[in-house]
Symmetry: C2
Subunit: 336 residues, 2 copies
Amino acid sequence: MLAFVVQRQNLKRTNKTRPRLRPGWALVRARMAGICNTDLEILRGYHNFCGTPGHEFVGEVQEVAGVSAAVEKRWIGKRVTGEINIPCHALGFRPLCRFCKRSLTRHCERRKVLGIVAHDGAFAEYLTLPIENLHAIPDSISDEMAVFVEPLAAACEILDQVNIKQFREAAVLGDGKLAQLIARVLRTALPRVVMYGKHSDKLALARRARIETKLVLGDVSDLRRVKDNLALLVEATGSPTGLALAQQMTEPRGTLVLKSTFHGAAPVETWPIVVKELTVVGSRCGRFEKAIALLRSGKVDPRPLIARTFPLHEASAAIMFAQKSGVMKVLLKKEA
Amino acid sequence: MLAFVVQRQNLKRTNKTRPRLRPGWALVRARMAGICNTDLEILRGYHNFCGTPGHEFVGEVQEVAGVSAAVEKRWIGKRVTGEINIPCHALGFRPLCRFCKRSLTRHCERRKVLGIVAHDGAFAEYLTLPIENLHAIPDSISDEMAVFVEPLAAACEILDQVNIKQFREAAVLGDGKLAQLIARVLRTALPRVVMYGKHSDKLALARRARIETKLVLGDVSDLRRVKDNLALLVEATGSPTGLALAQQMTEPRGTLVLKSTFHGAAPVETWPIVVKELTVVGSRCGRFEKAIALLRSGKVDPRPLIARTFPLHEASAAIMFAQKSGVMKVLLKKEA
């Protein structure tokens, strides 16, 4: 099958044998995949991952293994997306790790992660996942929307971590792909969301989703001069200086959610966190159910974030395009 | 009156006129004062404070102004300590700032802070504070214990910020003065507290208070090799590298309380906070009532932490002594 692998900071086209299935796993034919900033980080060496990247996808179940006829019937041919963290249970480890025992499978100590850690991802014709990771996509959600379920779930995670009802407004620092989804999700729960960004075209996208925007001219360090005091701030700049910046903008006793997983250390003075008694909440993957419900309800429409769709066989060109400054979501589509 | 002021990274002895009182304020004759790491930071330029430092004290109310005879009678001659944050209300600002309106006076936007921000402190014969900041000290609590109320309250703040009942144990990173108080306070609420430190003599002090200890040999960076996974970790190393270190030791979905107010930036990689979904809680001053109750009950005895007591007029020598490596709490005592 056609598959792309990481090689020398780019994607290289290869031919792989179709992956074999463990019992309880499914073979999924990829229909569409999204390129995430994490994929760009992987090209730069994140997790030393050398396999096939791609963790945002929608596909069709082609085959399942070691399950009853009823389960098989339920899944074969279904349009699905899938949770990317593969926990102890599905990898055959017994006893379960202490996080899996507490049902925190997204934090499994032995987890593999689709297209990120030790398990091949969706920039290929086929991928495999445990059946328990799959989520069926309702007919009313198109492929273009379904491919956003994974990052949208990551945005929704904030609603599971923060008691949103105690806030009247929120700010999002950054105007990139993830920041846009986060602002849209927060806007479903709050009457006012303000996005701070450097790109007027990206901010315009946000305004069309009823998000207020503030253009920060010049260098990102100009944000230091922002005098607004914010009770709930989400840092999604994708920059290593995000924490240093965001803690200055968050008001005393405020909540600062960190979403950027940029690799690299930035100098941070921690005394403002202490003196202002901030609560800093790290936030990663979220529940897919909530994201699917938001897409289905029409409350969040991610389609305006799509910059361009490439055919799968042009994945190398697509990822180079995705690395260009200002480019939003780039999708890969398997031709019929 | 005798008073010490910050001058060229040391304390200089001066004579000041006794401070005058605003209505609702009290003049307190200092009996004893404690030297805190923040005082050492102030000598290095923290807050550009050039007045009289000292925010840990016990004293006697000498005079009150603009209050009824009943209030006067209640306070004159009382042995007291006092909250260090002086909010809007006491400074005559109207309307109150938005934090004072929410009763978050410790975060008042216009606050002065005893011996730290724009208000002279306790390294002098007399100090002033709003009467509302004062707490009477019960007879059963000696001066040597009462002088610890302020830092002990800061340690107690953790119990107000973190739902301690969800944890079975806690770790404290650091073995200095504040770390010792924090470990003792946590030990009143948890069956197991482990202190990670570099000084065997300090760790021995902790063990006598039923705190488990782990000696970390060599450089502090050795702590990176600690393989323990901790659900609740309090960073109290007083070092700018504390956050970087502590986030590595905290387990996924764990809580990391930051207590160090060291000034200076240290390189921090923030992705572990995100990937592990840590909750980082900045923690500063706390309620005095809780600290006084702990001292009164005998559940916490800070006296073994006292390294040496100097007469007030030797404050310069005392603070030089306090700066020596390994020295615990240094006290100043006004001779009768």
